[in-house]
Point group: C2
Chain length 548, copies 2
Amino acid sequence: MRIALAQINPVVGDLKQNTAKLIRCCRKALSGGADLVVFPELAVTGYPPQDLLLYNGFILQVEQIIKEELAPLTAGRAPSILTGTPYRVEGELYNAAVFLENGTVKRVHRKTLLPNYDVFDEKRYFTRSPELAVEMMNDLTVAVTICEDIWNDRDFCPHPLYDLDPVEELVRMNAAVMINLSASPYNQGKQSLREKMVGHLATKHGIALIYLNQVGGNDELIFDGTSLVYNNRGELIYRAASFAEELFFIESDALFSRPKQQVSPIKEDIGTIYRALCLGIKDYLAKTGFCSAVLGLSGGIDSAVTAAIAADALGAENVVGLLMPSPYSSEHSVEDARALAENLGIDYRIMPIEKPFLAFLELFNQDGGPAQDLAEENLQARIRGNQIMFISNREGHLALTTGNKSELAAGYCTLYGDMAGGLAVLADVPKVMVYELAAYLNRLHGKEVIPQRTISKAPSAELRPDQKDEDSLPPYPELDPILNLYIEENLSPAEIIARGHRAETVYQVTALVDRTEYKRRQAAPGLRVTTRAFGSGRRMPIARGYDY
Amino acid sequence: MRIALAQINPVVGDLKQNTAKLIRCCRKALSGGADLVVFPELAVTGYPPQDLLLYNGFILQVEQIIKEELAPLTAGRAPSILTGTPYRVEGELYNAAVFLENGTVKRVHRKTLLPNYDVFDEKRYFTRSPELAVEMMNDLTVAVTICEDIWNDRDFCPHPLYDLDPVEELVRMNAAVMINLSASPYNQGKQSLREKMVGHLATKHGIALIYLNQVGGNDELIFDGTSLVYNNRGELIYRAASFAEELFFIESDALFSRPKQQVSPIKEDIGTIYRALCLGIKDYLAKTGFCSAVLGLSGGIDSAVTAAIAADALGAENVVGLLMPSPYSSEHSVEDARALAENLGIDYRIMPIEKPFLAFLELFNQDGGPAQDLAEENLQARIRGNQIMFISNREGHLALTTGNKSELAAGYCTLYGDMAGGLAVLADVPKVMVYELAAYLNRLHGKEVIPQRTISKAPSAELRPDQKDEDSLPPYPELDPILNLYIEENLSPAEIIARGHRAETVYQVTALVDRTEYKRRQAAPGLRVTTRAFGSGRRMPIARGYDY
């Protein structure tokens, strides 16, 4: 038996395009001699379709595609299809894998474990499968599982989230091969974790395991693909591309024999984050109908790294940088921003904010001179936001925001100012990691792309004379670990202090995070690269007390 | 037996203040001769605590309050306590009602039906109760249920969401009285629906039913209180205040006898929406530490209604209006806005946007004159946004946005412009309802508060000469019903057309809604008054296809 595995990049809700893509893969699978072609979780709708699933009209159309467009493709000698899709059984909606054979829907496998934490809301939409079953495919006993179904192994998860381990049950039903259809978003370390877990299952249960993942950026989430095939001794026999589509073939014999060649160990490093962000930018623009981006260049490291990644993702010719100095800008800010733009080969324009700033101050400070208060600091950031949005609106570029996760966490950013834009590229990248990205970019390009002074100078918002980030925040190497424990690990201030951090700093930091939730509620979607990003993965009240 | 019922307004996450409030109520209950004092669902944390529940440190503190501060209050002859709280049993977290008696936690009742739709995410946090049990309290067999537990009656819900009806089970266990602890948010028609449903249960099962609801605005959600007491014949014997706290007493005898006086039928009308919005504004400001608000006054109806409600909610002396005419503003815009401010007695200031506008245009239109394109329209709105935020930042007022639901749905609004602010008062009020509110406000105040011309003139954004909303949108009386079917009823375009709406208009409107999700993602929290508001109740992808 020859199996074609289609690691595809669907567009959420774009049923017509996604179906066309599935059909193209089926043709290639047929001409490649496949007996079966497999697609990821919810491939027809893209993952996550969110509240589109609440529209009956949407579900009807999906079911029609399965029955009238995809099932007929399996008639005659054509390969059967196994694809993820929302599907109703007796009026209940399931996150399903339909097995299409001989022109009809032969069986509907339904997801058993429905994740409802972090960014996942599957219990909002789906009913849990009432049963587990194996499937005979060309004399092979195949167990079909969907994503979370395989993530409840009692050895691997010290605190299993669910009572049932579907893998155990299906192995008991004599499954020889397990095919897992996934839509598993990337975060730092996720690829290694997956290999460890999937390899462990294959070894432990002596089953072959095909893990097929979606690829592509869908709003905040970046799916990395990196599909995996293990033989029944738990040896990795194939690893598909990361951050790219791929259609690949596996012979069932290979699932039960020694690998012909060793697959190199997975390598996850700062370059993986970089590739995730590139795909996140590229897909967000493509899927929202943009082909170019505009952003402000301050001479600082965040905008420099954002611009460099955007240039790599979109092509330098599709990125416009705006240099918007103010009376408080250092001389090097324009120089460094210009050097960056020239290194990258992107278009840039200098648009000083002084004149609009003075025109506003005339309205507000009728007794003369600037007050240099917070209102005026924010005003400068907002004038820049206006300018970026103006160029975005007039010329049709998507505006990228450049703030990093540390700033966003601490609220060290201006609503409608530096937060103005359609996509927050570094919103889930802590400041210390921004420096790593800068160093990586210079290595990757084999030359100084990010100017050295941009990397070495002290971070500053330059909204008043001689301002430095450290006037308001702890140094980033001290700040970032505290933010990590508070946001990613959900530790309370007392628990963070118990880990050895200074009490005063911990309370300062957690208070900043708590009290600036209102800013993040209005932030642009941010690309998720850690285990807990702001956005749908962290749902916090704004009007609240703070006394724990 | 004498029961004290505490319809309280907790602050989400403010354990110290909430506990103090509970203790005060317990003292009053004691001096009022109560045997039992009851608090609403999750009263200790406020509802909804959202991801605060993911912090172990938070849960520990809640449990400590229950055991060390509240349970001891029930020692000796003091009344027992029944209160909603998150609580762990064998390591699992439950949405619980703890029954405290004789100084200890006597029993933990746990919620059986966990809502996970619309704005509710309870399966993200809580485990479902494994059991149902009745409680003997002073010789009365009492069933304790929590909110959703009573909303699955098979007569009342034609399509029950859950397999189990806890009410049926508990009646089978000979419950004579059911106490339901709720945190049920208000929306239009909800009060009547609740009375119908709760009354139906009491009548059908022949049990007395005490329905105790939280009150208060918590971010988007407005809890109305309006707690209810039915005797075992299904007769309403008490209805507590709407949109206000109340501590009231019920004798258990009254639960089983004819009411001494009839409770007047519930009256829900546009005034109910008005009161909800007042509470929503008042609590959002109070709970985020503000006591005054600033907003732009355009002379149009949305800003007029917002200002009038804010003045009623906060006091006219705590509202500042900014009149920000542009070269494209009609003469009557300033006149009408000024008349409104004077009618309301609020502070107002005139801050024309022309000078900053020209300063910006000088940067952007180096070849002269305005282009009158979308970029310039948005720029005007964003200059106003800057001015509002400047006054907000400098003077410490919360900025209110004034856009209505119809505009927000159609994307007829400017990000960082008229959308800039901390709370979107009318975000869930369709335009047609804004007119009803205007008429109501003038009736309520017995004089023209909203100027007649503001009500009668054609809606216009006044961002270019002679602009009218109807140049871009269908007339509101045609638009609003389509939006209602699409957003509140989740009907697809084809289904909406089948209801008799013009196909061309339906496709225009649904496309506008779909393509402007990116704006709503960055909108300020909006007060929810319909069955489906934007925000956490409607979770839509931004990067998506549109072909259904």
